[in-house]
Amino acid sequence: MLEADNLACLKGDRLLFRGLALRLAAGELLRIAGPNGVGKTSLLRLVSGLALAEAGEVRWKGTAIGRDREAFHRDLLYVGHAPALNDMLTPLENLQFTIAAAGDEADAESCMQALVRIGLANQLDLPARVLSQGQRRRVGLARLFLSARRPLWVLDEPFTALDVGAVEDLAGTLSDHCTAGGMVMLTTHQDAPFAMPPKVLDVGAFAC
């Protein structure tokens, strides 16, 4: 469903990779691998339409993503390095806003449940500013529980800063999403206990 051909990414002076092709079909989990600085984050941003490729194109359901941006973004969930948290709002307010901004609907009740589910039951009323690193990360990831309808999840290092229990839990959630016919594309340097071994794409193989 998600395909890319012949992608090239140029950053400043450096051509990070070229000729990169990828295919992601329903039910698949793709892990983008490679050492630091090889261009994993850059690839995810190309795929999600936040950046423009130097060459090549990304297609969703056969259409170039630039052609029908809104349809693509209706199907996409992207969680990047930056947590998209406003420091002055509580986790609940942040989550509700993120969902609404993405164009989805979610009542306070289900948002609250998602937060409790991810382990923030005691932090519901704190401003995000005082949360610990791992708690911040969790607020960002709580979206996953409310976005099952979006088939394509693109996650940049989702396991960072999470403790062991949370890593396990998240890996389970991702596996479930795939089992239900979704697609997940993620980067990580940690090993995570996925239900099935993920497909791996090594960006290093296309590096120049």
């Binding site: 012949n6 400043g12 051509l15 070229r18 423009l52 130097e54 060459a55 120049c208």
Partner: protein, 265 residues
């Protein structure tokens, strides 16, 4: 060769194999063309400048009311014209770039900006020096003067913005937007300032136009105006060339050009 280069068609818009009119819009065709044309414009500019200066100082007579000070007009007016004209051309190229997605257009508008700012400064400077003996002040808040000053700020803003953004692709399009917004504002500024000044009727000076311009005077001004046209073209083409090299450095043809340049030394 050069397996590392990126496909040309993807980088260049319109395609180099497109209709013949657009052929020169492809950077690898434009680069040598610019190199060939620039010296001719430069020579034209130099010759016209010499003729113009000769007309300005040795043919044009002394002005009855102003004496010799008026000779500033020969650079003041062409510079003022150029500064406004260049901004419009920049906005034009920016619009073309945004609509057709041609990188060369953005490069053109950025290459024009410093020259435009230069002429703008020259118009202000010469105007200020002219104003002292004629109006008794280096500066008054006259409508025309004021809008010229604001134009200089628009140039500075454009240049500062495009310089401050390192990623050229981002800088190109950000600059294009501000150039267009500025171009919409130039007439607004001009008329608002004009109206503002007439309303305040405070400074009762206005540009004292030379009563009837002697034809030699007009001649000199026109010749120097053409000289500044030719100069602008030459300098812009020269400035565009390294900018093209920089942006297209991943392509084969720039590699070839650089090898040639390197070999020459």
């Amino acid at each position: 060769m050069a397996s590392g280069s990126i496909d040309q068609d993807n980088r260049m818009n319109p395609s180099p194999r497109g209709p013949s009119v657009l052929r020169f819009a492809a950077p690898q065709n434009f680069y040598p063309l610019a190199g060939r044309l620039a010296p001719w414009f430069a020579v034209t500019a130099a010759v016209l400048t010499l003729i113009g200066l000769w007309l300005a100082f040795f043919v044009a007579p002394v002005d009855a009311t102003q004496g010799n000070v008026y000779r500033v007009i020969f650079i003041h007016v062409p510079a003022a014209w150029m500064s406004m004209f260049i901004y419009l051309v920049m906005a034009f190229w920016s619009a073309v770039g945004l609509v057709m997605n041609t990188r060369l257009s953005f490069v053109m508008s950025q290459a024009l900006a410093p020259t435009g700012a230069m002429f703008c400064f020259v118009a202000l400077w010469t105007g200020a020096l002219w104003g002292r003996p004629t109006w008794g002040a280096y500066w008054v808040w006259d409508a025309r003067l004021t809008s010229q000053l604001l134009l200089l700020f628009l140039y500075f803003g454009f240049i500062a913005l495009t310089r401050a953004i390192e990623d050229p692709r981002r800088g190109d399009r950000a600059g294009a937007i501000i150039a267009l917004v500025g171009a919409v504002n130039v007439p607004v500024i001009y008329f608002s300032v004009k109206w503002w000044n007439t309303l305040h009727q405070g400074a009762s000076v206005s540009l004292t136009k030379a009563p009837s311009m002697a034809s030699t005077m007009l001649m000199g001004m026109l010749v120097l105006a053409f000289a500044s046209w030719a100069y602008t073209l030459a300098v812009t083409l020269w400035r565009v060339r390294p900018m093209i090299l920089e942006r297209e450095r991943h392509t084969e043809w720039v590699g070839a050009v650089l090898d040639r340049e390197g070999g020459r030394k």
